[in-house]
Symmetry: C2
Subunit: 363 residues, 2 copies
């Protein structure tokens, strides 16, 4: 009876909602948020839904100094059949806990967290945009809140879920992106925190991203930090290559994030009997395939864009064009299938989609 544990305090001043064609990613937040507090010895307490409001934190809170924090990102879709759909949310709660494990943070009760998310979605359901391609972005996160400057795991945490309506990633249709292969900066190495969804990984990537943007590239492709040869991932996406009919994605090696879209793409490909391999793959191998006309397609996978076809790699000033800079057939098929399943337009043979009842009940 986890639902009973969540206190609800509704706002008395609802905010104005943005127009669905004016939605920008991650700038506007809904009327409510979910929170819970952790205190060492007591565990997680005070699970609640309350009006979205600033946090009050001591300036010495560990989050500000030592970055002990983890987060997740997923989406809710408003379906034509009147339900709210979530795509594999239990995978996000599981990964949240995996990240917490690496960061010496307390685990959350995954079911209770999911229950909290569902109640929050029920309450703020009017915020889920309905236009084609739009969705409600969900950001669960945990921050260390103990006021202590010692470098040690915090004894207090705050778990929160906030929601932000987001526009279509592909307003002007899907155009493959250009990617800069990064040779100077490194995102993560084995033994570090690359496999966890934690703030420091993203802070460390800003610089390379800035340099890439100045050169006209959408994203950075990270190479391994040891030999600077093997492909890791792209910005906030995992990466796939179709080479001579076979689909290849870098194996999980301890320094890349295990994307839920990545996992779903692998399952879909297997379901379709398209050969897919997780292995170490070098940039040199990609270059050779491209030179020999065998690099059929490449695409990134992630919650934000779902599938992001790649039209060009720039590696050490050499431009490697993929599929004439156009979206490939496999990218398109994956995109249509995944977004179709997510929004309920296509049947879900995997049991990936979870529905939230729209009527506000049990309040």
């Amino acid at each position: 009876m986890t639902a009973l544990k969540i206190q609800v305090n509704l706002t008395d001043s609802k905010k104005e909602k943005p127009l669905s064609d004016h939605l920008e990613f991650g700038r506007v937040f809904t009327d409510h948020m979910f929170s819970a507090d952790y205190i060492e010895g007591q565990g997680w307490t005070n699970h609640r839904i309350e009006p979205y409001a600033p946090l009050q934190l001591d300036p010495a809170s560990i989050i500000f100094h030592y970055g002990q924090t983890v987060f997740e990102g997923l989406k809710a879709y408003s379906s034509k059949d009147g339900t709210i759909k979530l795509f594999r949310p239990e995978q996000n709660m599981k990964r949240l806990n995996q990240s917490s494990e690496r960061l010496c943070m307390p685990l959350v009760n995954e079911e209770l967290a999911l229950e909290g998310l569902k109640r929050l979605l029920e309450i703020d359901q009017e915020w889920i945009p309905t236009a084609e391609g739009t969705s409600l972005y969900i950001r669960p996160f945990i921050i260390a809140t103990e006021a202590y400057l010692g470098v040690s795991p915090s004894k207090k945490y705050k778990f929160m879920i906030i929601l932000s309506p987001v526009g279509s990633y592909y307003k002007e249709g899907i155009h493959p992106v250009k990617i800069l292969v990064e040779n100077e900066y490194v995102r993560a190495v084995a033994g570090g925190t690359g496999m966890a969804k934690t703030a420091g990984n993203y802070a460390s990537g800003l610089k390379a991203q800035q340099v890439a943007a100045e050169k006209g590239y959408a994203q950075v492709l990270w190479l391994d930090g040891i030999e600077r040869k093997y492909i890791e991932e792209v910005g906030a996406m995992n990466i796939f290559f179709k080479i001579n009919g076979e689909v290849i994605t870098p194996a999980l090696n301890g320094s890349i994030l295990e994307g839920i879209t990545r996992k779903s793409v692998i399952q879909l490909l297997q379901h379709w009997n398209i050969p897919v391999t997780e292995r170490k793959i070098s940039m040199e191998e990609i270059r050779t395939a491209q030179k020999n006309g065998l690099l059929d397609e490449s695409f990134g996978t992630g919650t934000a864009a779902v599938i992001s076809p790649i039209g060009e790699f720039n590696w050490k000033d050499e431009k490697l064009v993929v599929n004439n800079g156009e979206m490939g057939g496999l990218s398109e098929r994956l995109y249509n299938t995944l977004t179709g399943i997510q929004t309920g337009k296509i049947e879900d043979p995997f049991g990936w989609v979870i529905e939230v009842e729209k009527p506000i009940n049990q309040l």
Copy 2:
């Protein structure tokens, strides 16, 4: 006339000060704090000293999600001659800006920041403990405060300085520490953020530190993330070895922090005509030196402990005892000289110490 730019708003309810023999590191903070706000296009504004109080931050603030933040750590000492002494504070402000550069954050005016610190110390001077070995720990830090979930540099920041009275690091005399050489986890690699003082580096180190503590070791010695052979640094300290009369410390390689204590130790050794070298040094070399009876001493250097003699390394379950587990003569000489200069007991031939006038003036 930078001083004019700092607004001062004093508290009307001063807190009780802790007894000097009950001081713990980083748990109690003084009555006031220094703050300034940065807004893209306007630069740093609203420099002020105000009562120490919780921060109000939107839950979507970039600091909570992508860890864009830098910090510093230094100390103020209450000197017998009635002055407040700071040890090379301009070096900390310079390093703060170097860290910010790596994290795509705006630079602060180093002089103005130092001026803000001095005014804050004047105002909270009663908080500087006077007992032997005590000091006031100073924590300048900058956090990204824009409410935006996009992974890009924040357009808003908050720069703060908070103060915490700290007890003697060596209440029970100086006892050399035992250090666990870390083989599984990695702190940083070249191309990452290791040379910056930023939150993510510390979050990533918590796990190894926890494992070490469980095994009875005070700190972790980080090896390079590439070959796992070369010595980097210890927890929050740089490391030195005295081998057969020569002092060696790992060279700055892009993945270790350039400690101000490290820099000062090198200068002192040169001043004393003791050979000191910055170079790559492997754990195997340390082991060989120890086996051959040539590892005279080893010590860590950092603001917290100043000099922390090392009595034992555990490397892959082999225990390498240094100097019979006792503090060596060089460690002691460095400790006495540095703390002597810092507190004004010994003449400062380098111009390292800066004095803050005690009387509250210009308010």
